[in-house]
Amino acid sequence: MEFIRKLKKHTKVSFLNYGIVIAFYFAVQIMAVTGHLSNSLKGQLIPIVSYVIVALALNLVVGISGELSLGHAGFMSVGAFSGVVVSMSVADSIPNPGLRLVIAILVGAALAGVAGVVIGIPVLRLNGDYLAIVTLAFGEIIKNVMNCLYVGVDGKGIHVSFKDTASLGMAADGKILINGPMGATGITKLSTFMAGTILLVIVLVIIQNLVNSRTGLAIMAIRDNRIAAEASGVPVTKHKLIAFVTSAAIAGAAGALYALNYSTIAPKKFDFNTSILILVFVVLGGIGNMTGTIIAAALLTMLPELLRKFADYRMLIYAIVLILVMIATNNEKIRSFIRGIGKSAKKEDGANE
């Protein structure tokens, strides 16, 4: 106990988050063993983990760096399709599915990171609403580029075209990996819940350790007061770019995990609605609050499925739940009630403090 009390507040929060993720993993495993895991929930596990990861990534930009991005589905898309292409084109040379998944996630993250640099350098010169609008536009651009992207692989390597499948000029043994608006088809499912959980823990380590380091402090200082940060010798663009690119790369990794859970995935999956959905997770979970983001993203991904028995009314109920949560988390009385619970818990374990 003495050890726990000595820890800093943010260290406690970090370990709480690891605990939540690991507890969720084991809860699901226990449910699976005892036969309480419904098929619909089972199918949702990887989407849940993917959305939690993307929401955490977006919170790094929105909450820590203080910039509004409305294009994170675009980075997911880049990660998803590059991950699919890589995993399928190395299928023969690397038979181990686990290793292929790791490679797909790494490549997805790397390419989304590159997209983050390309977009971030011009965009991060803007502030506030302008930045939001430009990221929105970039999200749409990525979606539309993916919509007319054709990729195939044959003995000679990877072919890319923006016209149609015929212009890929494939050999007879070739296989089409991405077929324009149809997206990627015939994907070998590689993602597993365990791999997703491991990725989520790694992402949490990266984000939380980044935030609680000198770099994260600089990012938050720029958010709080850009002019003072510059006058204190903190380079602004560099740190904004670090936050943005890290976030984009993590979103790409989540995209790869997400796509490799399905046999087909279309570019229109990663549209503006998805970007907004991710933003909803962050806003409801609490801007800058990683614990809240994890819980909000997981619950809100499950919610439409849980409401399935209400059939036609489920989206209506979903909207009402969103509004109620928003009212509840912005209500001073409810907030102080929640704080009160936290305080009394603290008193119990640290009476001599």
Binding site: N209, L210, L217, R223, A229, S232, G233
Partner: protein
């Protein structure tokens, strides 16, 4: 160049800036000795903060030169100027509101803390070593103003006077050669101002740095400044020791208003 200018930590010559057709500052020539406390005073709108903004790279001067320790800083960005050795505080307090007092000081130590982003993420030994060092250094600096007890308090919950002091500590943390204070005593009561005067002197003596301050509190200015520069309408109208300034006819006229000059 005279010997005095050669030894100076900062010299400016013919410094000036125009905003559109308006000349805000013109022919601003000063030289600050390495451990001098210099006052910059003048009526409201005289261009004092504009001068600070030029010296710190916020505004790019239209003409003239700024030399800091032999280096030309005229075309540097605010970040580069800070690294070159000028730190400042702001007239309207600019703290990192949502960070704690200690974290605010750690931002000042940013350049001084040597570990990279990846050491931070992977928590390599350099992270622990450097974080420990910066934590200790931050508390040491906060102790100058007796603020070490408030290290974990959020900056925006500090009282006004303490926020001003924290800004000074943060500026000091960047290890400057020259500290620019923009109205450090604004909003402070007489006893706080008294305390501040002592501390400014102590900072100068302990850190062996030069201080230039803008201030309207004449007790403070006359009490601690060794030299005072008076500006009005963007130009220096007088320069000298507090006694000289107090008896200078042009200064009295600038502050109190006098009969119109026919020129």
């Amino acid at each position: 160049m005279s010997k005095e200018q050669k030894d100076a930590v900062l010299t400016t010559s013919h410094l000036g800036i125009d905003f559109g057709g308006l000349t805000a500052v013109d022919e601003f020539n000063i030289s600050i000795a390495p451990t001098e406390i210099k006052g910059l005073i003048g009526p409201n709108g005289a261009g004092k903060t504009t001068i600070f903004n030029m010296l710190t790279g916020v505004y790019r001067p239209s003409r003239g030169t700024i030399t800091l320790n032999g280096k030309d800083t005229k075309n540097m960005s605010p970040v580069q100027v800070n690294h070159a050795g000028i730190a400042r505080t702001f007239q309207n307090i600019r703290l990192f509101d949502k960070l704690t007092v200690e974290e605010n000081v750690k931002i000042g130590l940013h350049e001084n803390v040597k570990y990279g982003m990846f050491s931070g993420i992977l928590r390599l030994p350099s992270y622990w070593k450097e974080e420990k060092r910066s934590h200790e250094r931050a508390l040491e600096l906060l102790d100058i103003f007796g603020m070490a007890d408030e290290a974990d308090v959020r900056a925006d919950s500090l009282p006004y006077g303490a926020q001003r002091r924290l800004e000074i500590v943060r500026a000091l943390a960047t290890d400057p050669k020259l500290l620019l204070l923009d109205e450090p005593a604004a909003g402070m009561n007489p006893s706080e101002t008294e305390e501040l005067m002592k501390n400014i002197r102590k900072i100068r003596d302990d850190f062996k740095i030069a201080v230039m301050l803008i201030e309207h509190d004449m007790n403070l200015v006359m009490g601690i400044c060794e030299n005072i520069v008076v500006v009005n309408f963007g130009k220096i109208i007088a320069e000298g020791t507090p006694e000289m300034i107090q008896n200078d006819a042009r200064v009295i006229e600038a502050y109190l208003g006098g009969k119109k000059e026919e020129d």
